[in-house]
């Protein structure tokens, strides 16, 4: 969503990512279809999780902050598997 005139894409474009080839997040769509809250969709600060019409979850890992919010708020054990990206890859904060 856009806030204060900054589009979400522009917001994310301020962050440096060294995108690795391996997805460090995996999501089990079967589990997500039975999830009624979809907390990851709202809480992920990078907005990586998008609900699909069939009740599943679409996600991307490329612009992940590696904060861990998604697996912490996920109410279904095992729906989100989350590891660190490979060494040297992922987010690089300059002003953290």
């Amino acid at each position: 969503m856009d806030y204060a005139g900054v589009s979400f894409e522009d917001r994310m474009a301020t962050v440096e990512f060294h995108v690795g080839e391996r997805a460090h997040i995996t999501v089990d769509p079967q589990v997500c279809r039975s999830c009624t809250t979809k907390d990851c969709v709202h809480a992920c600060p990078a907005g990586l999780f998008v609900p699909t019409t069939d009740g599943g979850i679409l996600f991307n890992y490329e612009q992940c902050f590696e904060c861990g919010t998604c697996y912490q708020v996920c109410n279904s054990q095992g729906a989100i598997t989350w590891t660190y990206p490979d060494g040297g890859e992922g987010v690089v904060y300059r002003h953290g």
């Binding site: 204060a4 301020t14 709202h42 600060p45 660190y84 992922g90 904060y93 002003h95 953290g96």
Partner: protein, 437 residues
């Protein structure tokens, strides 16, 4: 001949403040120590809520302030209670905080963490960046004897592993020291770093030279348990919120929406006019406090910093980097001693806990163990900021030709409007007094 893993005395996982402090002490004790960092440089993965208190470094790096990569020295510390249309601020300034040995500083973690890791390297530690510790190596008896990394042939054998791998610590989880998830004890910090010319920051916040502001806010998180922060760097202002993960999930507000609301507040917006977004960032904070701090030593392994939930979140005090450094130093000293006498079992490493109990790290946590509960109670969040603001507004609104109302009348009116119950207020006041005394 099979590949033998690299063998060192100690491997420290994570070159944040805890890890670099631990590696520094080990290297100074003459031990072979490897400091692993998964980012391309120390600090690349780190975000904080604004202030490093450096006095913990006095003994290990005398006159640290002459070389630390500081942005500004915090000489103005303000706390703001807010409603959507009001703000009541306690604004404290101390010139003493602007000269050695200083108090708090603002700094970028990319610079501060790299500097501290550099100190460990100068002392003889070997820093290996862009490398993830993917798991623990154990011997037949189950004791930790090193780490596996994501480098080919990258196993590292060590007498002691010090896990300083942050709030998500997979090593502490693998060792069974902390639960896989703890959303009730974890908060999310989201931050915007905004560019403004240095003179503009000086003028808007009433600062000169290297003076800086640290502003903490309550009542600005759309009813979600948490708070806001704003602090100044040389030519940027960082503003953001810290909110309960469970509260955020229930409220269904987007994190960036909370920051946008705070930035648009009438008491904040004028400070940020014309500022340009330079970086958006987010990080989790372990806020469980004393009761969430896990077992700190097992056979062959210690845990320090955010990995051991050592952030102090106690209302008036919000500190983490200094606690990580304090714990890292104690872990490094303990590991060096244990290696020297050849006993790195849990018993041989038990001195770590004693060191932490004897210094501010666990002394402060223990003393303030109830403070977090008081400060993030629903009343503290939803009622008291409005109560305080309404009292101020009523007292300072001149309603001539009517005479000034009596204070007691105004207190009752403000209490009624904000649904404050006197016995609850008295109880909270007493509990806060006890929690902080």
């Amino acid at each position: 001949m099979p590949d033998q893993p690299t063998a060192v005395d100690a491997v420290v996982v994570g070159a944040g403040p805890a890890g670099s402090a631990a590696a520094l002490e080990l290297a100074r004790a003459g031990r072979r120590v490897v400091l692993l960092e998964r980012g391309p440089f120390p600090g690349a993965k780190n975000v904080y809520g604004g202030v490093v208190y450096g006095r913990v470094l006095d003994e290990v790096l005398p006159r640290w302030w002459e070389e630390v990569p500081v942005q500004r020295w915090v000489t103005r510390r303000a706390t703001m209670l807010m409603t959507p249309t009001q703000a009541l601020t306690v604004d404290f300034r101390a010139t003493a905080w602007g000269s050695p040995p200083y108090n708090g500083m603002t700094t970028y973690r990319a610079e501060f963490d790299s500097w501290l890791a550099g100190k460990a390297v100068e002392a003889g530690a070997r820093l290996i960046t862009s490398t993830v510790a993917t798991g623990l190596l154990r011997d037949g008896a189950g004791r930790v004897v090193g780490v596996r990394t994501d480098r080919p042939g990258g196993d590292i054998a060590a007498h002691v592993v010090i896990a300083c791998d942050g709030v998500n610590s997979f090593l502490a989880k693998e060792a069974g020291l902390v639960p896989r998830t703890s959303p009730g004890h974890t908060t999310l910090g989201v931050k915007e770093t905004l560019a403004l010319p240095r003179e503009v920051i000086d003028e808007r916040f009433g600062l000169t030279g290297r003076q800086g502001l640290d502003l903490e806010m309550l009542g600005c998180t759309m009813g979600i348990p948490g708070g806001g922060f704003l602090y100044t760097s040389l030519d940027t202002v960082s503003v953001g919120v810290v909110v309960s993960l469970t509260g955020l999930a229930q409220a269904k507000h987007r994190p960036e929406e909370l920051v946008a609301e705070l930035k648009a507040h009438p008491a904040i917006a004028p400070y940020l006019r014309g500022a340009e977004l330079k970086e958006y960032s987010a990080h989790l904070i372990p806020e469980g406090g004393y009761r969430a701090i896990p077992k700190l030593a097992i056979d062959g392994m210690l845990v320090a910093g955010d990995a051991a939930a050592m952030c102090l979140v106690a209302g008036l005090w919000l500190e983490g980097v200094n606690f990580a450094i304090g714990a890292g130093l104690a872990a490094g000293q303990t590991a060096a001693d244990a290696i020297a006498v050849g006993d790195t079992s849990a018993r041989g490493l038990a001195g770590y806990r004693r060191r932490l109990d004897a210094c501010f790290v666990l002394a402060d946590h223990k003393r303030l163990r109830n403070a977090a509960d008081v400060m993030v109670s629903d009343r503290m969040l939803r009622q008291y900021p409005g109560f305080a603001c309404d009292i101020a507004e009523q007292l300072f609104t001149v309603i001539n030709p009517h005479p000034k109302p009596h204070l007691s009348t105004e207190l009752l009116r403000a209490a009624r409007r904000n649904k404050v119950r006197w016995h609850a207020l008295a109880r909270d006041g007493w509990q806060a007094f006890r929690a902080f005394s």
